[in-house]
């Protein structure tokens, strides 16, 4: 009875189709947002920003992107980190070629460039499905990393082969480069996540999202009600890559600062993002955040407990961390194959009646 919806009547379709139909959820969401925007920036320090908040927010964007493609449109992709690299290198080239360009414009353009590249690599999806498509996107991953390693133009012929972010300011406050304050990094990412989260929600609840889900669930039935598979699949690839490109650009410019492509955008990260999507919940916006949070926060938490709390040597803790993470992932998938989002939905369902049995 704690989570009540009785008496919460809807008198218009607008009210029925709002983002959070239940009042408690609505209040909860805005309280969280108030905390994230109004409280966290004043208390955040370098450790929290670099270990927890900034990677969480950036991976949440990438996970959202992959979820739009895999969870909503049903097209598996293993090229996420490759597309992140496209975003990162696009932002680097834009920042060094046009130093006056506003940082947010750079981020948007990087997303746009990645969308074009992603659409091109999405073309095979018109012919192949499932595992075969996953392998085809794997080709994108290897090809893109190879490309950024081999062509010096992408890293401006620097001797190390690395790219490092130039200092950029907005309103006199540095937002990229080594002098950036923790709270600035956090806020830049948070604003972008907030906007992209809403856009993802809007896209998935309307006409375009339904066309993606129709393709995912039953492609020939989608066709006979007028959904063109070509447009639906390619638009999903484009939007997804747009998100992942923005995540890559932020990963490079705000989080890491300097990047070597094989290390930062290797296949490990592609898998990490896919795990976030699966653990969070395919086809769920909330799940994208939950999955990203789980896989970013759990290792940090484990490290703190094992090393800080129990005083174990850090090398032992590092190995145990992998084992515990692996076990947790397996347990989660056995308990709830549909991810954290479904777990949350089931909990809410229980709370509607709690503490009464029926």
């Amino acid at each position: 009875m704690y989570y009540r919806e009785a008496g919460d009547f809807k008198t218009s379709y607008r009210a029925d189709q709002q983002n959070f139909p239940i009042r408690f959820d609505r209040i909860h969401f805005w309280v969280m947002m108030a905390l994230a925007f109004g409280v966290v920036p004043f208390f955040i320090n370098d450790y929290w920003a670099n270990a927890v908040f900034v990677p969480f927010l950036i991976f949440a964007i990438a996970t959202l992107g992959l979820n739009l493609l895999t969870g909503y449109c049903g097209q598996v992709s293993l090229g996420s980190a490759g597309f992140m690299a496209v975003g990162a290198y696009a932002s680097y080239k834009l920042m060094t070629s046009f130093p006056e360009l506003n940082f947010f414009v750079v981020i948007l353009l990087s997303g746009g460039i990645t969308a074009l590249v992603g659409t091109a690599f999405g073309l095979p999806s018109l012919r192949i499905k499932g595992f075969y498509l996953a392998v085809a996107t794997l080709a994108a991953q290897f090809f893109l990393v190879w490309l950024f390693n081999k062509v010096p133009w992408f890293y401006n012929n620097s001797a190390s082969g690395q790219i490092s972010v130039p200092r950029r300011e907005m309103f006199g406050i540095p937002i990229t480069g080594p002098e950036t304050a923790a709270s600035t990094k956090y806020l830049v990412c948070l604003v972008i996540v907030f906007v992209l989260g809403f856009v993802a929600r809007n896209l998935t609840r309307g006409r375009i999202g339904r066309s993606w889900m129709a393709i995912r669930d039953m492609d020939f039935a989608a066709e006979i009600i007028g959904v063109d598979p070509l447009r639906a699949k390619l638009s999903a690839f484009a939007i997804s890559s747009f998100y992942i490109g923005i995540a890559g650009a932020l990963f490079f410019s705000v989080y890491l600062g300097a990047v070597e492509v094989g290390e930062a955008f290797g296949i490990n990260n592609s898998f990490l993002i896919l795990f976030m999507v699966i653990i969070g919940g395919l086809g769920s916006i909330y799940g994208s955040f939950a999955g990203a949070a789980f896989l970013i926060l759990m290792p940090v938490l484990l490290k703190n407990v094992l090393v800080g709390g129990l005083g174990w040597p850090s090398d032992l803790a590092a190995h145990l961390e992998f084992m515990i993470m692996g076990a947790l992932i397996i347990i989660f998938l056995i308990v709830e194959p549909h991810g954290l989002a479904r777990l949350w939905a089931v909990t809410k369902q229980k709370l509607r009646l709690w503490p009464f049995p029926y």
Binding site: Y13, V199, I225, G226, V227
Partner: protein
């Protein structure tokens, strides 16, 4: 004979769809052999025949899944060029499937809303912003969909995932999805297969109501002869890819070739 009024008071108009000399082959197998028939506006037209007669293939030709090797299809008095199924949907042809083809990951409401796809036009950017045009369009079509939900009496399962629904209701949701496209021509592939008597009666009523209220022309495939003879205006009979009968139910019932096909006379 251009348009006429049936005994139960419905007006049957001109020819809406005409299938001319269609031949469809899969390799060496001729699934459909030189079949022609027409469907008139406002009519309920049944296609019957034993298993493997080419009935479903015929529907697949009409809505563009199969491209026949020979023959022409005329729709609205114009010869139709080869098109993709999604383009044919835009011309106003909707269908349901023999094995239910609903979108299992969505609830009833979203399934039916997807049916409105061809009528909704807001762009990607407008969808992303949502406020304004996309939102207004969404609620406008929600209202239309609610009329269909009322019409088919499925209000109670609006927010239920379709995978959790019983078979009969899934069939009804699929019909609702096809109706949401506001089709001129509705193809129903065995809408009553596997239903009990009560569900069949409901479905018959809905088919007749759809025809009467929206004036939708209906082509249906059905095995239940009682249903076919009761609700259809004219019947086409197929057997082994050939047309063996065509006419009003009484004509077809007394056709010797049709009786042979159903009772089983050795083919030589």
């Amino acid at each position: 004979m251009s348009s006429y009024v049936t005994p139960d008071g419905r007006t049957i108009g001109d020819v809406l769809l005409e299938v001319k000399n269609i031949t469809l082959r899969f390799g060496g197998v001729e699934a459909i052999k030189n079949i022609s028939f027409d469907v008139r506006e406002g009519e309920i037209r049944a296609i019957i025949g034993p298993n493997g007669a080419g009935k479903s293939s015929m529907l697949n030709v009409i809505n563009g899944f199969y491209h026949p090797q020979e023959g022409e299809i005329w729709f609205h008095g114009k010869k139709r060029r080869a098109m993709k199924p999604s383009q044919i949907a835009r011309q106003g042809i909707a269908r349901t499937f023999q094995n239910i083809a609903l979108f299992k990951g969505m609830n009833t409401l979203d399934n039916i809303m997807t049916g409105c796809f061809t009528h909704m036009h807001t762009s990607l950017i407008e969808q992303a912003i949502w406020w304004g045009r996309a939102e207004r369009e969404e609620y406008r079509y929600r209202e239309k969909v609610e009329h269909i939900i009322d019409f088919l009496e499925i209000q109670a399962i609006r927010k239920t995932p379709v995978g959790a629904l019983p078979y009969g209701l899934q069939k009804r949701v699929e019909l609702a999805r096809a109706l949401a496209a506001e089709p001129k021509l509705l193809l129903l592939d065995e809408p009553m297969a596997g239903m009990n008597v009560e569900e069949k009666e409901d479905m018959c009523r809905f088919v007749l109501d759809v025809n009467a209220e929206f004036g939708t022309t209906i082509v249906l495939i059905e095995h239940d002869m009682g249903v076919v003879m009761d609700i259809s205006d004219r019947v086409v009979v197929l057997d082994y890819g050939r047309k063996i009968g065509d006419g009003v139910p009484d004509e077809v019932r007394s056709n010797q070739e049709v009786i042979d096909a159903y009772l089983g006379v050795p083919h030589d």
